[in-house]
Symmetry: C2
Subunit: 204 residues, 2 copies
DNA sequence: CCTTCACTTGACACAGTGTCAATTGACATG
DNA sequence: CATGTCAATTGACACTGTGTCAAGTGAAGG
């Protein structure tokens, strides 16, 4: 396995993201990637120990391109807890469809690959922290619904925002992205904000 | 493939459910099943065309044992819409952990096997009908929150009750079954019942 | 006795991942 | 120019699990 910055290594990562971006499915094979990168299948293993490691590295590669960290930051600027909750839900919800094609292979590997499962779990754990921060901001403002502890509310919000739910609503239910975002925001407010104050319920 | 009622066929199905029940993991192999049934791996294919078909048949076998249809029925007896919603959520929530070991292999095959995906989708579609009936009962009582159409409310309830969310809450979040049920019921009421009338928020 | 039928035995094909040894070709350095 | 290094190639093979096939066995039953 060569050093972190190798031209070929970058080519492999780029080939992987390109294939996923183009919708060739989350079951991209090592040989597909190699061909796209213009090298041999075996040569891929000179740079990545196995498929899981390659896919994990690919997600970091995507992070850089998408400036992922900057995406969730704006919610931190929110003044009130309610604003923060809204902003966070909105930011994450808007982020899902962008990263979905790249996240999916990792999700798919989870059941069989320990490393892949761990990598995905870590990302989701990070996302949980955003949920917790939003809930804590509500609590600080005394706006957290009395029915939930911070922990329980965080777990519920975290669960609602799972990629699988986005998948289900947009695919099985055929919802538009806008409808998804609107409803998620609405649910979060209704469930976690004291008194369930909800501005309006637009149809999306 | 021999006729539907063959002693061996039953033995294979029983072997499969036994293995899953005992927690040998949702990745049971054809050879594991064959050994457990006391026959050859190849002989399994005398009764089932492939792994997907076997697993699908296994779920029907489990349906019979668990009298699945009877489980969701009680909610139909509910007088008010609110009672029906409660009853349905509770019945399904209680049902999940029982069927989970048998459902999981099918869920796992979904991404790669058309037939498995279809079989699972059909089951979930049935479950959706229960959701819709509950929401419609609310609507009839003029108790459906004005924020949602029947369709949207059904989709949301349906999504909330997905097995993946139960998995996430009980596994990733470490929730007890009781806590899961309590919170799901609470959410459903809060989200869909006009005025969000909620009795109490016990900690489970 | 002979057939039928379920099952066994032993073999093989196929995909996809991962590994290995020998080789090539470029580039760099003495 | 000779030599060594290093990335990549070539061709092969192992492994796992699914699914298939042909020939053989053994018991039940007309």
């Amino acid at each position: 396995m060569s050093s972190e910055n190798s031209e070929t290594r970058r080519r492999i990562l780029q080939a992987t993201t390109d294939l996923l971006q183009e919708g060739h499915g989350a079951d991209v094979r090592m040989s597909d990637i190699a061909r796209r990168a213009g090298i041999t299948r075996q040569a891929v293993y000179l740079h990545f120990a196995n498929r899981a490691e390659l896919l994990i590295a690919m997600t970091f590669h995507v992070d850089e391109i998408k400036r992922s960290n900057d995406r969730l930051a704006p919610s931190r600027a929110a003044r009130t807890g309610t604003e923060r909750l809204d902003a966070y839900v909105e930011a994450w919800a808007a982020y899902i469809p962008e990263i979905y094609p790249f996240a999916k292979p990792l999700m798919l590997m989870g059941p069989t690959d320990e490393a892949a499962r761990g990598a995905w779990a870590r990302r989701m754990q990070d996302m949980r922290e955003g949920c917790e921060a939003a809930i804590q901001a509500l609590e600080r403002d005394r706006m957290l619904s009395a029915e939930h502890t911070v922990d329980a509310a965080t777990d519920l919000l975290w669960t609602m925002m799972q990629v699988e739910n986005w998948e289900h609503l947009t695919q099985a239910c055929g919802w538009s992205q806008a409808k998804y975002v609107e409803n998620l925001k609405h649910m979060a407010r209704r469930l976690f904000v004291v008194d369930g104050s909800v501005r309006s319920a637009r149809e999306a």
